[in-house]
């Protein structure tokens, strides 16, 4: 199983959206994509059509003392996913992290128990806060996707994030621009800046700002169902293809 950690460079850059769409796109490619939500916001499930009222998930299962694997769902599109769960507590993330550290192998050890096929790809929607959770995911991840908006906040947040990723022991980190709008001068400038920055590796695919994404979420769908011929669907598809190629390249190098 390959683990891909999706980490935002700043708040509100759309990392959860991107993780959900990557998982669905990979599943559509018969690459056995799956997703796990590590964000206390518990928003991933909404993209995958889970009932708003349903509070089940990783954190709630553990808090209730049940086996955490019972909190897993399969979306109507056939994507297995594990929501964070509606804990209703501010420190839900920290408590989960603390519990995971008591387990053999930490988060990585738990995720290993998910019997995904060897070529399967598990997307972990990792939060910036609490960092302990993200660090555990990164320690096991084969690839970290750092989601950045083409703006100054993301650009400012990237160096610290890259340091953290390296410290956590993740082998490879790539920056993906999300919400790019070529009509805005700043977007084009930031894209050029990121592309030419020797300190970071920019993925060759960027995701456009497309109203179809927001509308899809309002319908609790992904753009693949809501607007399959939209640019966003095209971009997520391309990104998924790039992820598969990237992981294949890495595994060949390892072999």
């Amino acid at each position: 199983m390959n683990l891909v950690a999706v980490v935002p460079a700043a708040g509100g850059v759309g990392a959860t959206t991107l993780a959900a769409h990557l998982a669905v796109s990979l599943a559509r490619k018969r690459r056995l994509g799956a997703a796990v939500d590590l964000c206390p916001g518990n928003a991933l499930r909404l993209h995958l059509g889970m009932d708003w009222q349903d509070a089940a998930g990783l954190a709630t299962q553990i808090a209730a003392g049940h086996p955490w694997s019972d909190g897993a769902y399969v979306s109507s599109g056939g994507v297995p996913f594990l929501p964070f769960g509606q804990t209703g507590r501010e420190d839900g993330g920290a408590r989960l992290a603390a519990w995971l550290e008591t387990q053999p192998g930490g988060l990585g050890g738990c995720l290993e128990q998910i019997r995904l096929q060897p070529e399967g790809i598990l997307l972990a929607d990792a939060p910036r806060m609490p960092w302990q959770l993200t660090r555990q995911a990164l320690a096991r991840a084969d690839l970290a996707i750092l989601v950045a908006a083409p703006d100054a906040a993301s650009y400012a947040g990237l160096p610290a994030l890259l340091e953290g990723v390296a410290a956590a022991g993740c082998a490879e980190a790539r920056v993906v621009i999300n919400g790019f709008d070529p009509r805005r001068d700043l977007d084009r400038d930031m894209a050029l800046l990121l592309a030419n920055d020797p300190g970071l590796d920019l993925a060759p695919v960027m995701v456009h700002r497309d109203e179809a994404v927001r509308e899809a979420l309002a319908c609790k769908q992904t753009v693949f169902d809501y607007a399959p011929s939209s640019q966003a669907a095209y971009d997520f598809e391309a990104l998924a293809t790039w992820v598969v190629a990237r992981l294949g390249h890495r595994s060949r190098q390892a072999a």
Partner: protein
């Protein structure tokens, strides 16, 4: 299914019923069909030319003819459906090459069974190096020359000549199937043999010395034929083995890349034409501190000065306009200092890769002074527009840029073509700048450079594109200038004389110049048959059968060989049309220039205009109309001679009638070009498939592909299921890419129907115009796949097309000249189609399996 044997079975097959089945099943198949299909489908299958739902008056006749046809004519043999297309052997000759091929493979097997001997021979040759010894080599040349002379000059009886040309032709048909340049060389040898033999025969035995008139006519025709032969042979030499030079890579370290000045000379062209060129030049990939762009404005216009300032490029003017473009460039040479100079006519939009594709060779070869790239045109020239050939048939210039320049490059004789080229400053200054003695300064400059021992190179990848001449008169004006200039160089700086050139270079240059003298010979060919038909002069003093036996091989082999060599760049017989159109107009200036090279001035080629209505250019056509009338008179006289003349002259009359008929149709094609078709828009739409995004009102994005684009707008193919409902004039934004940079361009909807969206740009500043040019016209790959989807040349198809174009010419002539007669003439087409609809044809069941 097995092939049916007799008539009624053929009917069954035609009706879609298996004849091999037992009778009851066949009956059942006839009867037990879906009710509506039963009768109609069977009949429709049998009679494809009859529409039973809408019967017409002549249908009984059609049915009768079809029944007779099906009953009497053997159907084509069925072949099993193959996954690949079979080679289309010419039907009557199918057996011969097939048998020859079998013989060949047997021969190969025989040779192949003794590989040891062959290999020993090859090894011995390599070890001894026979070919490296000059004496042996020249002995071989001499032997070949003697044999060739024998082959050309031995007089044959009519029968012997028939056998000889038959053999030549059979060999050519087999060789033609073999790919590769060696087989081409072989075909050239055959063609030169046939043509030389013809010419020898013409000189030695077809001139009538006894009758002065015959002799005079005969000599004039012979002179024209000698010229044609010379151009043919020199052309073969020039293009026998095109070099197909690849771009040389540049060093990794950009600090070693040399400095380049980009010159964009302009005189009277509107700013609208110049802007895209400047914008594209600013996007050329080269270190910014090593490239300077200059607008050389001989019009000294304030508008241009402001534009240059705004765009941040250099602006150079001079006090006078001496020597036109050449003088303009030479003046700019004194004001700049870059090591290399790239020159673009003001309407040639360079691609971003231009310098990286061309500069590599300069760094490899210190003596290299010039790298030329093709002139590519994204708008149709008058031939393409008025004949409807655009992107279907290679245009007039493609032969030169696709083949001749590549052939020249092998002999280190690439010409400078005035634009889309890079010249090294030092050699250029050594020869005193761009040549000013003639009106074709470009070719003359290259000649001067090469006399100094400098090399020139050609890279056959379109790296810039521009507008073709708009109207036929402008086109002819441009060609007159070229023809006059070439004749001037031939007189003033003859490539056969003077120092510094290799023999091959002399041949290549002189061929380019001689080529423009074709006006006179072409006029001779257009009138030669009249000498006999009208004046009863035997211009070729020989029996018609002999003429056919000598002249047909000459023409057939030349067509065959040229089709193979040039097929990708010029379709067969189109050269005849191009030359016919120009013949009258270049005949006079070239003749004048040959006698008095000082006369003649430089005229600028007008571009970027608009033919705003349909019209017929009578002023240009009158020489051709006169020739047509003369030929028609000759034709009438010939028909009279057939009816009332002596019987022994009938073959000669027929031959001349055939020739006149061909001339009339060729002239018709020339006339057809003069019928100017109206142009609808000022900016030309270029068909190109690029990725794009349409930003819809409301923030949704739709990925799509461009269908075409222009400076004014673009069309997109949208996914049918997601085509949005867009009102006319709705505001959208379109994303296009320049490499990996994405740029957005505001636009308004012109039309949105089904899966097609057409917009016009609403750009608000120069920066956006620059980006648009760089995302479209200046893309590195913009012109690479231009010729995709074109048919391969087939000589007979070319002939048919040219002759059909001739008929079209007369129809258009009637439409414009005699509008009252036009309706009558308009009936001819439908009448022919109606007659054709009576003809029987093979039912679908046969057609599907046999095509």
């Amino acid at each position: 299914m097995s092939a049916p044997a007799d008539g009624w079975q053929r009917w069954l097959v035609a009706a879609g019923i298996e004849p091999g089945r037992p009778w009851p099943q066949r009956l059942a198949a006839l009867v037990l069909r879906p009710p509506a299909a039963a009768g109609l489908a069977t009949l429709a299958g049998l009679f494809p030319q009859v529409n039973f739902r809408r019967p017409r008056l002549a249908d009984p006749l059609r049915i009768l003819l079809q029944l007779l046809w099906l009953g009497l004519v053997r159907p084509p043999a069925r072949r099993p459906a193959a996954s690949c297309r079979p080679i289309p052997w010419r039907a009557p000759l199918a057996a011969i090459p097939a048998r020859l091929a079998r013989g060949w493979s047997r021969l190969e097997a025989a040779v192949g069974s003794q590989p040891g001997r062959l290999r020993r021979f090859a090894a011995a040759e390599g070890r001894l190096g026979f070919w490296d010894r000059a004496a042996l080599r020249y002995a071989a040349y001499a032997l070949a020359a003697i044999l060739a002379l024998l082959c050309i000059s031995t007089p044959f009886s009519t029968l012997a000549q028939a056998v000889f040309v038959g053999l030549l032709w059979s060999i050519a048909l087999v060789i033609r199937r073999v790919p590769g340049p060696v087989a081409t060389l072989f075909l050239i040898v055959l063609s030169v043999t046939a043509s030389s033999r013809y010419l020898w025969w013409r000189v030695s035995s077809t001139l009538n010395w006894d009758i002065a008139v015959d002799f005079l006519w005969g000599t004039v025709l012979l002179a024209a034929e000698v010229y044609t032969w010379l151009i043919l042979v020199l052309g073969y030499f020039q293009t026998a083995w095109p070099l197909k030079r690849q771009p040389a890579p540049l060093p990794e370290d950009t600090s070693r890349w040399p400095g380049v000045d980009v010159f964009i000379p302009t005189y009277n062209e509107p700013l609208k034409v110049v802007k895209p060129t400047v914008f594209a030049a600013q996007g050329i990939d080269w270190p910014a501190d090593k490239v300077n762009i200059y607008l050389l404005d001989d019009g000294r216009r304030d508008e241009f000065r402001h534009f240059a300032e705004e765009a941040g490029i250099g602006y150079i003017v001079r006090p006078d306009n001496r020597h036109a473009k050449a003088g303009n460039l030479n003046h700019a040479l004194t004001r700049t200092s870059g090591e290399y100079i790239a020159i673009f006519d003001c309407d040639h939009i360079p691609t971003r890769s231009f310098l990286q594709m061309t500069m590599g060779w300069f760094l490899r070869d210190d003596k290299l002074a010039l790298v030329q790239t093709p002139h590519h045109f994204f708008s149709p020239d008058p031939f393409e527009r008025n004949l409807g050939l655009f992107r279907r048939v290679p245009n007039e210039g493609e032969l030169f840029y696709g083949l001749i320049q590549d052939g020249n490059d092998l002999w280190n004789a690439t010409f400078f073509c005035g634009s889309c080229a890079v010249i090294k400053r030092r050699p250029l200054e050594e020869i005193g700048g761009i040549a000013v003695e003639t009106v074709t300064e470009d070719a003359h400059t290259a000649l001067k450079l090469q006399r100094r021992g400098y090399n020139t190179a050609y890279i056959s990848v379109p790296q810039a594109a521009g507008l073709a001449t708009e109207s036929l008169s402008a086109h002819i004006g441009q060609r007159i200038r070229w023809a006059r200039g070439m004749a001037q160089i031939f007189r003033l700086d003859n490539p056969y004389l003077g120092k510094g050139l290799s023999l091959a270079q002399r041949i290549c240059y002189s061929n380019a110049m001689l080529h423009f003298l074709n006006g006179g010979p072409r006029l001779v060919f257009l009138t030669a048959p009249l000498a006999f038909l009208l004046f009863h002069a035997y211009v070729i003093y020989a029996p018609a059968l002999s003429v056919a036996l000598y002249v047909l091989p000459h023409m057939v082999h030349a067509s065959l060989t040229n089709s193979r060599m040039q097929g990708g760049h010029r379709h067969s017989f189109w050269a005849e049309v191009y030359e016919t159109v120009l013949a009258w107009y270049i005949f006079r200036p070239t003749t004048v220039a040959l006698f008095n090279p000082g006369k003649g001035k430089f005229n600028v080629t007008a571009k970027g205009g608009l033919v705003d209505r349909n019209y017929f250019d009578w002023g240009i056509t009158w020489p051709y109309l006169a020739l047509v009338l003369a030929n028609l008179a000759g034709f009438a006289a010939g028909v009279g001679r057939l009816a009332w003349g002596p019987a022994d002259e009938i073959p000669t009359t027929l031959l001349n009638l055939f020739w006149t008929g061909y001339n009339v149709l060729l002239l018709g094609a020339a006339i057809s070009v003069a019928s100017e078709a109206r142009q609808v828009r000022l900016s030309h739409r270029v068909r190109l498939d690029l990725p794009a995004i349409v930003h819809l009102p409301g923030g949704k994005l739709l990925p799509c592909r461009t269908e075409d684009f222009s400076e004014g707008g673009a069309a997109f193919a949208l996914p049918a299921e997601a085509a949005p409902a867009l009102a006319r004039d709705a505001e959208v934004v379109v994303s296009l890419w320049r490499g990996r940079e994405e740029h957005a361009f505001p636009a308004r909807v012109v039309a949105a129907a089904d899966s097609r969206l057409r917009v016009r740009w609403e750009l608000f500043d120069a920066e956006q115009e620059r980006r648009l040019v760089q995302c479209t016209f200046a893309r590195a790959d913009a012109w690479v796949s231009w010729a995709d989807g074109r048919h391969r040349d087939r000589p007979l198809a070319g002939l048919r097309e040219v002759l059909a174009m001739g008929l079209t010419g007369y129809r258009r002539l009637a439409e414009h000249g005699a509008p009252l007669a036009a309706p009558l003439l308009g009936r001819v087409g439908p009448a022919l189609r109606w007659s054709a609809s009576l003809l029987p044809r093979w039912p679908a069941t046969y057609r599907q399996e046999t095509t």
